[in-house]
């Protein structure tokens, strides 16, 4: 604690990259529609993702109603059921979760959290949104073509996806593939922006090891997506050629409804490798941003530094790397060489270690904390429960021999909904309640937020926890109707009705959230710049909501990590990242 240490801390490091000239919008259209401001693009992304997500939510009701009351609802037939399953899955995983985390939160938070004026390529950023929007419109348009959307299952496995006997094999599958190709084109433009912005546009003092974990999570997810999406891209192009030009990348010689086709020599398993080379990292492309956001929510609302920050960063990187070599655990019973089972089981279960360390560190952050039960905190805690629950059931499915009886049953459905459906969605809600004041300048209603939390958290747990047991029983997934089956007791049908009723209730309860979201725009309590008294940089903008360019005349200078909560000797229980150091402070 000598004064000698102060100057070297105070002197901000020199700027490595010159401040940028932004394109300033001149009209309403260029400001709010064809906008190059990452914050506006973020809201466009999130708005589109949530809109299409509501469609996917309604589709899940169709699925649940059929499973609970088979044959009782006139408009649900086998085609509608399988189309609903397919569209629900694809929309939720790709068009909703991926888009809202990377396009929505990524765009809004990365520049603000690293102290940049905007994304590095604002024009490309704008294009990425518009291509994403077109991809979404193409997908939804399949409802208006003869035969409707594809009902091939969200994994689109050939040969079945492009043959008759599958709903939407006329146009639906083509539109799905075209839409995915467009989505990946759009995503690549956005993803390059996120990666380059994090690497190149950080403000002075914002070292990599001073970045909030939200940025780390989104950054790692964006890198992974840039590596994984090409697998899906080529799979889609090749399948599209098989469907339209009669190539045989994935099509062996086969007979379709008694008629021999011209296909010869292709491999259906090749498609599965390409699909899951994307599909498995995709789980973490959704999960890593959620991990990052939840770290920040817990730290802010528990008024305590995140425990084991370095470990958290390395765990994100380790999970990202390992997740690229585990795709085969989706294919244990696909007919691939069974010796791969050993490799994929080991790598899959190895991921459990860094993942568990993250969970421990979140929980240890609560130890000796000062916990405020705000709505964002409740959602973060709800995430921990559903994530731990869904994470450990992943150990069943990753451990190759245990997967054998459980694969293709409702256990799998329950597992991935808990871990990559409910858990990330709880984080999304928590994040919206948390950052809404920065985006709008107003608070959301806490009372409504808490009602929303309790219904969503307990309801979702009640939907998916029991469903695991139907899988253990042996109930297969992707059955439009169970029919008369000796090993399924009548009580399973009763449980399906209970699950459906809860699912409908939880779905409708989301209207509380939307009411709160829109009502608070006008009637919410004024938030001020930093209502949660948070330390990270996005809360330190000169204006709220931040103006174009984020920071006014001068970019901020960062002196410490974003988790300086309850630092001994500090006058308040937090130290903003851009506040000059205290006397003698040595901060990470």
């Amino acid at each position: 604690m000598t004064d000698a240490s102060v100057p070297q801390n105070v002197a901000p490091p020199p700027a490595e990259v010159a401040d940028v000239e932004l394109y300033h919008a001149h009209s309403w259209i260029t400001k709010y529609v064809f906008s190059q401001d990452a914050k506006v693009i973020a809201i466009q992304y999130a708005g589109t993702a949530i809109t299409v997500g509501i469609l996917a939510l309604v589709l899940s009701w169709v699925i649940r109603l059929q499973l609970a009351f088979p044959g009782a609802i006139p408009f649900i037939d086998a085609n509608v059921y399988y189309q609903s399953v397919t569209m629900h899955g694809m929309i939720m995983v790709v068009y909703m979760l991926t888009a809202i985390f990377l396009g929505g939160f990524g765009n809004y938070l990365i520049p603000l959290m690293v102290g940049a004026r905007d994304m590095v390529f604002p024009y490309v950023n704008m294009l990425s949104y518009w291509v994403y929007l077109i991809a979404t419109l193409v997908l939804v348009s399949s409802y208006f073509f003869p035969g409707g959307p594809t009902g091939a299952g969200w994994t689109l496995y050939p040969p079945q996806s492009i043959l008759t006997g599958t709903p939407g094999h006329e146009y639906g599958i083509i539109l799905m593939l075209v839409s995915l190709i467009l989505f990946i084109v759009g995503f690549t433009m956005g993803g390059l922006n996120y990666v380059v912005t994090v690497l190149q546009a950080r403000t002075r003092g914002m070292t990599l090891m001073r970045m909030p974990l939200t940025v780390w999570g989104i950054f790692a997810a964006a890198v992974m997506a840039l590596l994984a999406f090409p697998g899906l891209f080529v799979a889609c192009v090749m399948l599209l050629l098989d469907r339209t030009l009669g190539t045989s990348f994935f099509m062996p010689s086969l007979v379709e409804l008694g008629e021999r086709k011209d296909y010869v020599g292709g491999s259906p398993i090749l498609f599965q490798h390409l699909f899951w080379f994307f599909g498995h990292p995709e789980v973490y492309i959704v999960a890593l941003p959620a991990f990052g956001v939840v770290s920040d929510l817990i730290s802010v609302h528990a008024r305590k530094n995140i425990f084991g920050y370095k470990m958290m960063v390395w765990a994100i990187i380790a999970i990202g790397v390992l997740s690229m070599v585990v795709w085969g655990h989706h294919m244990y019973i696909s007919g691939m060489d069974p010796w791969f089972g050993f490799f994929f089981a080991v790598t899959t279960l190895a991921i459990a270690v860094p993942t568990a360390l993250k969970v421990y560190n979140w929980v240890l952050t609560l130890w000796h904390a000062d916990i405020h039960f705000t709505t964002p905190m409740l959602f973060a805690l709800g995430f921990l429960v559903t994530f731990v629950n869904g994470g450990i059931t992943g150990l069943y499915l990753g451990n190759v021999i245990v997967d054998v009886p459980l694969s293709a049953t409702l256990f799998v459905v329950a597992h991935f909904h808990m871990v990559m459906g409910i858990a990330p969605v709880l984080v999304i809600f928590g994040a919206i309640y948390h950052w809404y004041p920065k985006i709008t300048g107003r608070m959301m209603d806490e009372r409504l937020g808490k009602i929303h939390f309790w219904i969503t958290f307990l309801g979702a747990y009640a939907i998916f926890f029991p469903m695991h047991y139907l899988g253990v029983l042996g109930m297969p997934r992707r059955f439009y109707e169970m029919g008369e089956t000796a090993f399924v007791p009548a009580s399973a049908a009763t449980l399906n009705i209970v699950i459906t009723v809860i699912a409908l209730a939880v779905g409708f309860a989301q209207s509380i959230f939307f009411y709160n979201l829109f009502k608070s725009l006008k009637y919410g309590a004024p938030a001020g710049g930093n209502p949660w008294r948070a330390a990270s940089l996005e809360w330190q903008t000169p204006e709220t909501p931040p103006g174009h360019g984020n920071w006014g005349e001068q970019l901020p200078v960062v002196y410490r990590w974003p988790y300086a909560y309850s630092v001994p000797g500090a006058p308040e229980d937090y130290l903003p990242q851009n506040a000059p150091p205290m006397r003698g402070e040595h901060s990470p």
């Binding site: 021999r260 007919g335 059931t393 054998v404 694969s407 309850s566």
Partner: protein
């Protein structure tokens, strides 16, 4: 505060549900009890982890909730604690993984004396083939499929002439003898799934896949398709009958060979054209 109580209730409710729920694995009817044992071990280890983490969290939420004047501790890291947690987790993962890999080794090693049969999937039904007197299955190819040869057996292969074709979706097997099931699809992906035997495997057009098991319990079991194969997927049902060696033999000799089926089809065709 209520969240701490809710978490305790979630843990207690989950354990009670696990213990009391009537939905459990079907009674096993094959040699794969090891799979059930590995799953039981997994329930124990992961259940203990879940309970420990959530209850600890609930305690923290109760103990360190905000009260006026509370200030959090400042403890950026504790490398020793993190290392310990990492080691304990690694050991737990090894406890789960090691037995799993050993059982997988057995799962993919077919006993030499296993009886070979073939299951063929087509939208949306099952058919089966058993070797004839020569104990060998003849070759097959999609090219040979026609109205009198729905499984696509090679008409020229002498090994296939005595193969027994079972087109009724009902497969009989003798109890206590290991069976290697060869799996073939002539259109899309299917999956041979009988919940009671625990084992399952995809049928992939273009390749022949396999798995093995030993039936251990006399009875009738449903064969489902577990790989989505189009709108008729749930209707793709078969029946597996496990019976004594003698009953199986009676059933077996009553089946038609490939040669017989071709002849009877040919004579039927002749009669039809004469009329």
């Amino acid at each position: 505060m209520s969240i701490a109580i809710a978490m305790v209730l979630v843990v207690v409710g989950s354990i009670l549900f696990h213990v009391l729920s009537p939905w459990r694995a079907t009674p096993i009817a094959s040699n794969w009890g090891f799979i059930d044992d590995t799953m039981g071990l997994t329930f124990l280890v992961t259940g203990a982890g879940f309970v420990a983490v959530i209850l600890f969290m609930a305690y923290c939420l109760y103990r360190f909730r905000h009260v006026p004047g509370r200030r959090a501790a400042y403890e950026p890291e504790n490398q020793k604690l993190e290392a310990w947690l990492g080691i304990v987790t690694t050991i737990a993962v090894i406890i789960l993984l090691a037995p799993g890999l050993l059982v997988w080794g057995q799962f993919i090693t077919v006993p030499k004396d296993a009886m070979v049969i073939e299951a063929v999937g087509v939208q949306w039904s099952w058919s089966f083939r058993l070797p004839g007197a020569d104990n060998q299955l003849g070759s097959s190819d999609v090219r040979y499929i026609d109205t009198t040869n729905s499984m696509g057996l090679s008409p020229a292969d002498p090994k296939g002439q005595d193969d027994l074709l079972i087109a009724s979706s009902e497969l009989h097997l003798p109890i206590g003898k290991p069976v290697k099931v060869l799996l073939r699809s002539i259109d899309v992906l299917h999956d041979f799934y009988v919940p009671e035997i625990r084992a399952k495997m995809d049928l992939v057009p273009g390749v022949v896949t396999y798995f093995w098991f030993t039936p251990t319990k006399i009875g009738e079991y449903e064969i489902l398709c577990a790989a989505y194969c189009g709108t008729g997927h749930p209707q793709m049902r078969g029946k597996m009958v496990i019976e004594s060696e003698a009953d199986f033999e009676t059933w077996r000799v009553a089946q038609q060979t490939f040669e017989q089926s071709r002849k009877s089809d040919a004579s039927r065709d002749k009669r039809a054209s004469a009329q």
